[in-house]
């Protein structure tokens, strides 16, 4: 859905203006930079452990207590199939809203807030199945490639079958 919305504005030149720009929170997994729209981010907190959930995929790190509600934490590195993160106190959980739900994404670090033009968003190149599944698009910012995370895709299918 989001990816379609991005493509709607392709015709409007390349100048960054308020209507046509997007603010992203950028974070890193190893060398890779990813981003989510800033309006979906609720909170950024340091990693402080999570209670593991049984019968879930390895990228579900468990649940934490966020001011009285239980919020699941997804390990983004593991989600991209690159093995579980070994989190330290320096790792960061980005809490964001996906539809009605709040979820946390475990990342290495939050790097920046970026303003990008919607016109600079490109389709994800075919090839890497994980990327096409989990990204809405790719945007280049100051020669950095930023993958736009499709949150709905990231959190789906978390339960083990059977």
């Amino acid at each position: 859905m989001d990816s379609l919305a991005y493509k709607d504005d392709m015709s409007n030149g390349s100048q960054v203006n308020v209507q046509n720009s997007l603010q992203l929170i950028a974070f890193s997994i190893g060398e890779q930079t990813y981003g989510v729209e800033i309006t979906t981010v609720r909170e950024i907190r340091a990693w402080n452990g999570a209670t593991p959930l049984p019968n879930t995929r390895e990228y579900v790190r468990g649940v934490i207590n966020l001011r009285g509600t239980i919020v699941p934490i997804f390990d983004l590195r593991a989600r991209f199939g690159e093995g579980q993160t070994s989190p330290t106190k320096n790792h960061v959980v980005v809490v964001m809203s996906v539809g009605e739900k709040w979820v946390g994404i475990l990342v290495d670090a939050v790097s920046d807030i970026l303003t990008v033009s919607k016109d600079d968003i490109h389709a994800v190149p075919e090839g890497n199945t994980m990327d096409t599944e989990l990204l809405n698009g790719i945007v280049t910012h100051e020669s950095r490639m930023v993958g736009l995370i499709d949150l709905h895709a990231v959190v789906s299918g978390a339960k083990m079958d059977g």
Partner: protein, 744 residues
């Protein structure tokens, strides 16, 4: 007239329902239940029959229903005691009402004297005379002797274009030019209530305009400086001049009928004034003085009003300046006195209204949650007190005890706010049973017991669907056809008993029928066909009965469309589990089935045992725990299948190692681990093996599904005193899962 016939058919259908309802209510009343709700239902039923009858001009029926309704009204508000003789009279009245309905349907006449004796008794009772004092002399009294302030009107449903209200232009055109025109002077000052009831001065003016030529002048002197302007303040009043030969004080007052008491109103006839006022027209003026934004709220929009007033109004208003003649005849009709009375009445209302307030449920929930956390903090504090501390700080100990007590009291009080009688759900069921009985051609009687039992509002809301399902199930699968029942020597009418009672910290809600019981051969067959269980799996009768709640098991498709709608009883189980409850079924072949829902009194707090599995804390609801055993002393064995079992007092119990099941690496040696022996539904047991037992405490249940999804074997989560999340073990779910896996 086929429309009318349709309505009549609807009406008579409804009458049969209402008469049935009357019968049902009085059966309960006779049995001693005289709660206000029964009387209200009775009153409503009679009232509806009267209302519908009136629409069709069934004069005799309406007259009788009216007299009966009046009696019921007196009974309802306690002016007449519902003594046994009065009850008998009412039951007699129900029969008579049924006769009137029947006569109306068949077009027969019962004659004017029919029911007159009873009506005379109603009247005597409502006059305050004791029952029976009236004697027999009333027989045959003609109906018009009774004081009927309700006049039945025959409705002509054919749309009548000719009689449609004439538009304003026509009224002007039709005015006889030569007639002496009445010149009326109307002062109209709305109160804020007028706007809060969605009355609109513009509409009143429009209607007045239909009576004659109308001039409207807004009085704007009350408008305060901008700084003092309140958005919902009432600053505008109007002077109106109506010139009409036909208008009377009554016809003008009728226009203001709906706003009587909500405005200052005076209507006066100017003697001899016959000069029709000049321009501007009503529409122009109305547009001028009525800001168009009045639609959006009870008051006037500040910006628009200010704009209108500043520029146009002062210029235009004098053009229509009213003639300031105060005529002596006739006296101005004033609403001022009445509105004073209203205001006094309003104060009295406010005094009684203080006794209850409307509170947003979210606010109550916030309090409930906080109290839940408080209870936990308090129990944590208490646990911190070891013997040394106890000996040293006796004051602190006493303080904590008081805190514990107060916290419990607070918790109870808060939960009471959310508690509601189950009646609100139970009351929907009689109709369901009637409908189902009709559809299936069965005869079914519904008995309800314990309707006043109170339970948390959230639980009540979740109860309607499962109960509906269970009752559908009983009607469809339980109760036999009247013929079958007769053949079995059972009463033709099947009984479904719906009951609620409080048992300790739980509410038990049972649906019990006296039907054929669960057909176990059939259930077993279906369960095997659908691979709910393995082909060779042996089950006890109780286990078979409980199969009807298994996911994937639904006999609905081939049976009928009633219980089905594509979902089976597993929905009942999952709904009930969601609110922390459990379902238990017990069936006797040929004698009936009883399904019991065990529900928590409150959803807020759960007593649990805190255990450790691998590195993670888990909690097990205390209500399901039978005992705990050290593994070193436990008597483990192997079932023929190779599955691990535990021998307890001669019974073999299925063993679920939580570390294995949840794939957590424990590392603890078996001898140091513990068995938590739990009782699942149906009295069957399951032995959970955990790494350590930490202690008991109370927790607040939190949903996993709110931000994630449900997980098999986990009933939810909770937040421990240290801020970490612990998961709540779903004992029933673990067991069901096991059964399922073995089968596959």
């Amino acid at each position: 007239m086929s429309d009318l016939d349709d309505f009549k058919a609807t009406f008579f259908d409804e009458c049969s329902e209402l008469l049935g309802e009357l019968e049902e209510q009085f059966a309960a009343i006779e049995a001693g239940d005289r709660t206000a709700n029964r009387l209200n239902a009775v009153f409503r039923a009679v009232h509806s029959i009267k209302g519908g009858g009136g629409a069709f001009g069934f004069v005799e029926m309406v007259a009788f229903a009216h007299a009966y309704e009046t009696l019921l009204d007196h009974v309802r508000d306690g002016r007449i005691e519902l003594s046994d003789p009065v009850t008998v009279l009412c039951i007699r009245a129900n029969d008579l009402l049924a006769d009137f309905v029947k006569a109306a349907r068949t077009g027969a006449s019962l004659g004017p004297g029919y029911g007159a004796d009873e009506r005379a008794q109603f009247d005597a009772l409502t006059r305050g005379e004791p029952i029976g004092s009236h004697g027999g002399d009333a027989g045959g009294a003609p109906m018009d002797e009774f004081d009927i302030d309700f006049v039945p009107v025959m409705v002509d449903l054919a749309p009548s274009a000719a009689a449609a209200p004439a538009p304003a232009e026509d009224s002007f055109a039709n005015l006889p030019l030569t007639a002496e025109r009445g010149h009326w002077e109307i002062h109209f000052a709305p109160h804020s209530e007028l706007y809060s009831r969605a009355n609109d001065p513009l509409l009143l003016f429009r209607e007045l305009g239909n009576l004659g030529e109308l001039t409207v002048t807004a009085k704007l002197g009350e408008i305060p400086p901008l700084a003092d302007f309140e958005p919902y303040g009432i600053y505008c009043s109007w002077e109106l001049t109506l010139v009409s030969p036909t208008a009377t004080a009554a016809s003008i007052a009728e226009v203001f009928e709906f706003v009587e008491g909500n405005c200052d109103l005076s209507i006066a006839l100017l003697a001899g004034a016959n000069n029709p006022p000049a321009e501007p027209t009503l529409d122009e003026l109305a547009a001028l003085v009525m800001p168009p934004v009045a639609d959006d709220g009870p008051g006037l929009s500040f910006a628009d009003l200010a704009e209108t007033l500043k520029t146009e109004a002062p210029v235009r208003a004098p053009a229509a300046a009213p003639i300031l003649l105060r005529p002596a005849e006739p006296a101005p009709m004033s609403a001022a006195e009445e509105s004073d009375a209203d205001r006094r009445g309003g104060e009295a209302d406010r005094r009684t209204a203080v006794q209850s307030i409307r509170v947003d449920l979210d606010k109550v929930d916030r309090v409930v949650n906080m109290v839940g956390e408080l209870v936990i903090t308090q129990s944590m504090l208490t646990q911190q007190m070891d013997d040394t501390l106890r000996a040293r700080y006796q004051e602190l100990v006493r303080g904590l005890e008081v805190l514990a007590q107060t916290t419990r009291g607070l918790q109870d009080a808060v939960m009471a706010i959310r508690a509601q009688p189950v009646k609100s759900v139970f009351s929907r069921m009689p109709r369901l049973v009637r409908d189902l009985a009709q559809k299936t051609g069965k005869k079914i009687k519904l008995e309800t017991i314990g309707e006043a039992t109170e339970i948390d509002k959230t639980v009540i809301e979740q109860l309607s669907d499962p109960l509906t399902h269970m009752i559908r199930n009983s009607c469809d699968h339980g109760i036999e056809t009247p013929e079958a029942r007769r053949a079995l020597g059972k009463p033709e009418i099947g009984t479904i008993r719906l009951s609620a009672e409080q048992a300790g910290g739980n509410i038990l809600i049972a649906v019990e029928d006296d039907g054929g019981g669960i057909n176990r051969d059939r259930v077993l067959q279906v369960a095997r066909d659908r691979l709910v269980i393995g082909p060779d799996q042996q089950l006890t009768e109780e286990q078979i009965d409980n199969l009807i709640f298994a996911p994937g098991f639904s006999t609905a498709t081939e049976v009928s469309d009633i219980s089905g709608r594509g979902v089976g009883m597993d929905v009942v189980l999952s709904n009930i589990k969601k609110i922390g409850g459990s379902v238990h079924v017990r069936s006797r072949t040929g004698q009936g089935t009883r399904m019991t829902l065990r529900l928590p009194l409150t959803l807020a707090v759960l007593d649990v045992m805190l255990v450790r599995v691998g590195p993670s804390p888990y909690v097990v609801p205390l209500s399901s725990i039978v005992e705990t055993i050290q593994c070193s002393r436990a008597d483990f064995g192997r079932a023929p299948s190779g599955a691990k079992v535990l021998r307890v007092r001669g019974e073999y119990v299925q063993v679920v190692d939580l570390a294995e099941r949840f794939e957590l690496t424990g590392g603890a040696e078996l001898a140091n681990r513990f068995v938590v022996l739990c009782e699942a539904e149906g009295g069957t047991k399951v032995a959970l093996v955990v790494d350590d037992i930490i202690g008991q405490q109370q927790v607040v249940i939190k949903s996993l599904e709110e931000n994630f999804e449900s997980i098999d074997g986990i009933a939810g989560g909770t937040i421990l005193g240290d801020g970490n999340v612990a998961l709540i073990v779903d004992v029933q779910g673990l067991k069901a899962q096991k059964l399922h896996k073995n089968a596959a």
